[in-house]
Every structure is written in C-alpha cells, then in structure tokens.
Amino acid sequence: MNEPKRPLPRADEFDTQAFWAGTKDKEFRYQQCKQCETVVFYARRHCTGCLDGELEWKVASGRATVYTYSIVRQSYHPFFRNQVPYAVAWVDLEEGPRILSNIVGVEDPLTEVAIGMPLEIEWEEHDDLCIPLFKPA
C-alpha cells in the first residue's frame, strides 16, 4: 500500500505555474508592478493595482512572521489525519505576500506557536517542486 502523500499543487495551473517552477530552485517568487509598485500574490498575469502595469518577478528573503494560526487536532484527509496535531498559519513575508502554510520545526505546536513569531522558510522537497513551509527563525 502506498503511504498517503501531501496534496501537491499542479505545475500546469496557468497563473501559479511560474511560482511553483521557482520552488524547484528554492526560490519564493512574487510579483511587483513596475509602474504602480503593487505587490501581487498569488501570481497573476495582470496588475491588480493599475490597468497597464507590467509585473516583474522578485524573490523573497524567506523571512516572515505568523499573522494568525490554528492547531488542527482532527482531519479526515488521508495524509493530514496522520499529522495531527499540526499548525496551519497565515504567514506574512517581509516583502508583503501573505501565504497559507504550515509551521514546522517545533517540538510541540500546541505551546510553541504564537502570533507575531518570527519565521524563516523551510523547503520540503518533492520530485518536481518544493513546498514552502516555515520554521521559527
């Protein structure tokens, strides 16, 4: 029997494929408009701040903080049911993007995760991409 695996993003989704391609090199890519400087995340083809803006790719430092989080105690998902208790969090990157991820590298998520806690990125390697997780900085 196969071990249940973490659900992975599709590499061929139109808007986010360049983000996921970057994770192969452990780059956290985000977009910023050259004209109006709006930070766009998740990735898109159009600037959400102006009509003719050209988006350029940037690479985030990986430094981040916990905006908010929950500890999941119960899941019916074949992979995640074996991970409980685990921390899910909205994570604010230093450069602006807010991403949903997991906090890893803590002995006891019930006591060691807090709002405002400084984080750094921790890449989880898979065949065709890496998943951006976060650990205490």
Binding site: T68, F80, D92, I115
Partner: protein, 397 residues
C-alpha cells in the same frame, strides 16, 4: 416609516427532516419545499415567474430547474456564493420585482449532506484544483474549522477576546434550539450526545477541534432544505400570510490581502449598505439571524454589522445578552437554534430568511415580543480566506 415596500416574503417552508437516510434527493427536497411555501402564501406553481437557484443540486440549474418544477419563468438567476446565496437571491428578487420583470419569485434549497457524509463541520478538504488560489492553499491541510479558528486566534490576539465569550454564542443558540421541537429532533436524529441546554463551561471543556475552537462551537452536518416565495405588493396583498417586507440589502466579497485584517469580514461592506437602504440602524433590530457556521463567525459578523464597535464583540455578548427573552439588550440571535444546534446542510443562508420571517409573523418557538425588524446575514465560503456576505433587512407592517 418611509421605507420602500416593493417586495415581500409571502411564503416559507423549512423541510422538517435533518436525516433523510438517503431516501430523498436534494431536487425532491427543493420541489416539496417549494410547493409548501407556495401553499403557505396561498399561491400556485403557475404564479411563479422568477426562479433563483444556487445550483447546489447539480445539473446546470439555469437550464434544468424550471423544467423540474414545470415552470416557464421570465427571470432565471443562478448566483452561487455558497451559504450566503439566499440573501443574494432575496436581494435580486426584490430588484427584479421592483424593475417590473417579475411578480412572484421562488427560492429553493435542498441538500443531503448528512446522508452523503459530507464533511462540513469538522472535516478536511481535498487536493488542489485548477483555481489558482486553491493551487496555492491546498498543500497546507487547512480544514474548514481551522480556517475559522485562525480568525478567532487573531481576534483574541488583537482584542483580548476569550473562549468563554465565544461560548456565549453557542449557549444562547442551544437554549433557543431546546425550545424548537424540530431542532431537538434534528439533534436526536444526528445522534448528538447529551441533548440539553449548555453552559459556558460545557462549551470550553468540549473537545478542541482546531485551536482555539471547541466541538460545541461547530455547526452540525445535517440534511435539509427549504423555500422562500417573494412577491410584489399587489400579489402580497392577496396572499394568506402577512407580508414580511425586504427593506434593504447589501452584497460584498472579501479575500486574503497582504496586510489585510482577517478579523473584519465582508459584512462590514454589505451591512451598512443594507441598513442605509432600509433607513434603520442595527440597534433597532429585534432579531439577528446571523450565519453561525462557528461561534467566531457570529462574533465577527455582529461587530461588522455594527451592533457593537469592532473588537468589542466578546464583551458585548457576555451575560446571555443574545437570548430571545432579553429584548431590551439588543437583538435575539438565531432563535431557531441556528446551524450550531438546528440545521446546517452546508448552505444555511435560506434558514436565516425563514426564521426571520417566522419572527416577524409571530410564529417562532422563541418569539421576541412584538418583533418588528430583523436582519438576516449570510456568510458564504470561508470567513478566514475568501467569502461572500449578503445582508437582508426585513420588516413587517
């Protein structure tokens, strides 16, 4: 009052069973509910000239629902914004009736979520889809409740809100459920343990599902459905029920934004629109039917609708303020027993309109004395990420 009275709820029906044991389909629930709601109004199928459908029963509803009902409507609206769809439908029905496009609008809902064992209240969710946002989120294993729990954590962090304050919402709602025989039967059929009024300590000592939310802060997963008939003033005058007027409506959506405040929902946009249009204020509401997927949903929505300032919801709900028998302290909350303790098949929005209508007709099992004004607020999608808000203000003659 100077409000426009140009469309009224004239017929309602709440499908009584919360566990159909796989013997009835969502379409059958919709059709039976529609027929009873029309009967309630004293109307017939042939009077219906507009249908509103979220497509929850599948099969490209805009093409197939009219045929299923055997109708030839002039207006077909298939807005789907999750659980708030029915507040949007009510708003659109009023708009279409006002514009002269329709006279009798039919809204229906049917679901066999419980029979299908769909995980709504405490479950997980599946893999990545082709929507770009989903393609970013799915790897993290966020359950539905964890999504809401993250709003609760941030609310506690920013404003000092406590689990005991959130529990007030569960306690008041269960108290109302125990007075509603259909809610009691629902809890029996869904095999709730220890069906009784609860205390704050019951709630905060129940099992943690996703920190900081406990089991008794989560909605049930039921089967069910219902229908609403909305009519023009000319039709409403001849109906067998007293009209419940749609006085104002508001619609909005919200989604994750860099630097955004997760504790403030789309209700902060839809609520003021609805109250302004109705020419009333939140403090005048006798009844607040607020989508209670989880305790935090109600707390955030009460603040965003303007019942109290942002961040003060925890203190505001203390001391049993939301009970139906405390009319001088503000509105009664979810007097049917809510999604927490009466009915949540996945898209609860229609039940908010149903119970608000019962209150304004004087037919609730937890009747607020002389109730004149009610607000129904639906939240669709997920509070902690992308969601829709539909606010409807209702009043009687």
């Amino acid at each position: 009052m100077s409000q426009d009275r140009d469309a009224a709820i004239v017929g309602i029906h709440e499908y009584p069973s919360r566990d159909v044991e796989g013997e009835v389909s969502p379409l059958q629930i919709k059709a039976e509910s529609a027929s009873r709601a029309l009967k309630d109004a004293g109307l017939n199928w042939s009077d219906v000239d507009a249908i509103y459908d979220a497509g929850e029963a599948g099969g490209m509803a805009g093409l197939t629902m009219a045929e299923y009902f055997g109708l030839s409507p002039n207006v077909i609206d298939t807005t789907n914004v999750g659980g708030s769809s029915y507040e949007f439908h009510a708003a659109h029905a009023r708009r279409d009736i006002r514009a002269g496009k329709a006279k009798v609008a039919l809204l229906t809902y049917g679901s066999t979520a419980h029979s299908n064992a769909r995980a709504i209240g405490v479950g997980g969710r599946g893999g990545a889809s082709m929507h770009p946002a989903e393609n970013m989120d799915a790897y993290a294993g966020m359950t539905l409740i964890a999504n809401y729990a993250m709003v609760a954590h941030r609310h506690m962090h920013q404003y000092g809100t406590t689990s005991e304050q959130l529990a007030e919402i569960s306690v008041a709602t269960r108290m109302h459920a125990m007075r509603n025989p259909e809610a009691v039967r629902a809890m029996e059929d869904l095999e709730f343990l220890d069906i009784r009024e609860t205390t704050i300590s019951d709630v905060v000592n129940s099992r943690m599902i996703a920190d900081p939310l406990h089991l008794l802060e989560c909605c049930m997963i039921s089967d069910g459905g219902g229908a609403v008939v909305i009519a023009s003033p000319e039709i409403a005058r001849d109906c067998r029920t007293d009209p419940v007027w749609i006085l104002g409506s508001g619609e909005a959506t919200k989604y994750p934004m860099s630097g955004g405040d997760i504790t403030t929902s789309a209700a902060a946009q839809s609520g003021p629109q609805a109250f302004l249009e109705a020419g009333v204020t939140p403090s005048e509401m006798d009844v607040a039917m607020i989508y209670d997927s989880f305790s935090i949903t109600v707390l955030a929505l009460l603040e965003d609708l303007g019942f109290c300032p942002k961040g003060e919801g925890g203190r505001w709900v203390e001391g049993g303020r939301l009970r139906f028998d405390r009319p001088n302290d503000g509105p009664a909350l979810n007097t049917d027993g809510g999604g927490l303790s009466s009915n949540h098949p996945g898209m609860r929005g229609i039940f908010l309109l149903l119970e608000a209508t019962r209150q304004l007709r004087g037919e609730s099992t937890s009747q607020v004395a002389d109730a004149k004004l009610a607000v129904a607020h639906g939240n669709g999608g997920m509070l902690g990420s992308r969601h829709a808000a539909g606010t409807i203000v209702l009043g009687r003659d």
